[in-house]
């Protein structure tokens, strides 16, 4: 798993560089990184959720399918969220609890795509003594086409 090896898996490292709930400014763009989506990363994601659809995994079958080639499953944004953000992004703060998300899908990501993310905190609030941040995100391919857009709520560590 070369991808995982090149990625900092210790989320405690650089934890002090990440913004706390108090420091997050709704509306302020998050720093993001372009990410080359590989077939290996798609296959690993498929394995983790039990996807066996040949449109994601079998080049020959995918070529004859509706997309004319391999594509990633719609929910690949789960991987893209961490791939397209740097180590000091507050989404990686240990103890961040995902409270729910909504995503809209436009076109499939494909292996070989260079993915770009535009993201920001949209809102923050306190509810039942918990610190919430709303984040919104749009992933684009190298042609500037929207792949998907989504919004989520996280409960921030105290």
């Amino acid at each position: 798993m070369a991808q995982a090896q090149s990625f900092e898996t210790d989320f405690w490292k650089d934890a002090n560089l990440r913004k706390s709930w108090d420091e997050i400014v709704p509306g302020e763009p998050r720093k993001t990184l372009p990410y080359l989506l590989t077939q290996e990363a798609i296959a690993l994601y498929c394995k983790a959720v039990g996807e066996t659809n040949p449109l994601y995994l079998d080049e020959k079958a995918a070529k004859a399918g509706p997309h004319g080639g391999l594509v990633a499953p719609p929910s690949i944004h789960i991987l893209l969220m961490f791939s397209c953000t740097p180590a000091d992004d507050w989404m990686r703060s240990p103890g961040t609890i995902n409270a729910g998300q909504s995503w809209s899908y436009n076109i499939h990501a494909r292996p070989g795509d260079t993915i770009r993310l535009e993201a920001r905190a949209l809102d923050k609030f306190i509810k039942r003594q918990r610190l919430f941040v709303v984040h919104d995100n749009v992933f684009f391919n190298q042609h500037g086409q929207v792949i998907c857009s989504g919004r989520g709520q996280t409960i921030r560590p105290l």
Binding site: T9, A48, V49, L79, A99, W103
Partner: protein
């Protein structure tokens, strides 16, 4: 309620249900999801860390990624759709943590069907339950059945 195996828009009915795949959650499946998603939050890896309190909540041990539910629901939808169908939206919230040893399964039921001037849409109530029948995730999905003529019939 009818368990739907057909995905012809014209034969779908409100209340039709869809069963998704069962998924056995283990420490290994959670670790694999860490590698696949690059989400290495200690919530999913570190039992000692999870002995602590999170505000008024104590999980007592590592928990599965909420987005693993999301991926399973999405898989159920795309497996059910015909080749021309398009998974357009999924909204979920987590209502109960999922732990190693749990077996979870997403299901869906058709809530509404709508025709617009260019296409045809189905709204689905979705949920994930554990082996005790408890809801662990709930939400709503929207799928598109493009009109064969590109316009509403």
């Amino acid at each position: 309620m009818t368990k739907t195996t057909t995905t012809d828009f014209d034969t779908l009915r409100d209340g039709d249900t869809i069963d998704g795949p069962t998924f056995a959650v283990s420490r290994e499946s959670i670790r694999l999801f860490c590698d696949a998603s690059l989400d290495y939050n200690p919530l999913h890896l570190d039992d000692d860390y999870m002995k602590g309190d999170f505000g008024r909540t104590n999980f007592g041990g590592i928990i599965m990624h909420g987005m693993n539910n999301f991926g399973l629901i999405s898989r159920m939808i795309t497996d059910w759709l015909p080749p021309e169908g398009v998974h357009r939206r999924l909204e979920t919230r987590w209502v109960k943590p999922v732990r190693p040893g749990d077996v979870i399964q997403p299901t869906a039921s058709i809530k509404a069907r709508q025709t617009t001037h260019k296409s045809r849409w189905v709204l689905l109530d979705v949920q994930v339950r554990n082996q005790k029948g408890e809801q662990v995730a709930v939400g709503e999905a929207m799928v598109e059945f493009p009109s064969p003529t590109g316009a509403a019939a």
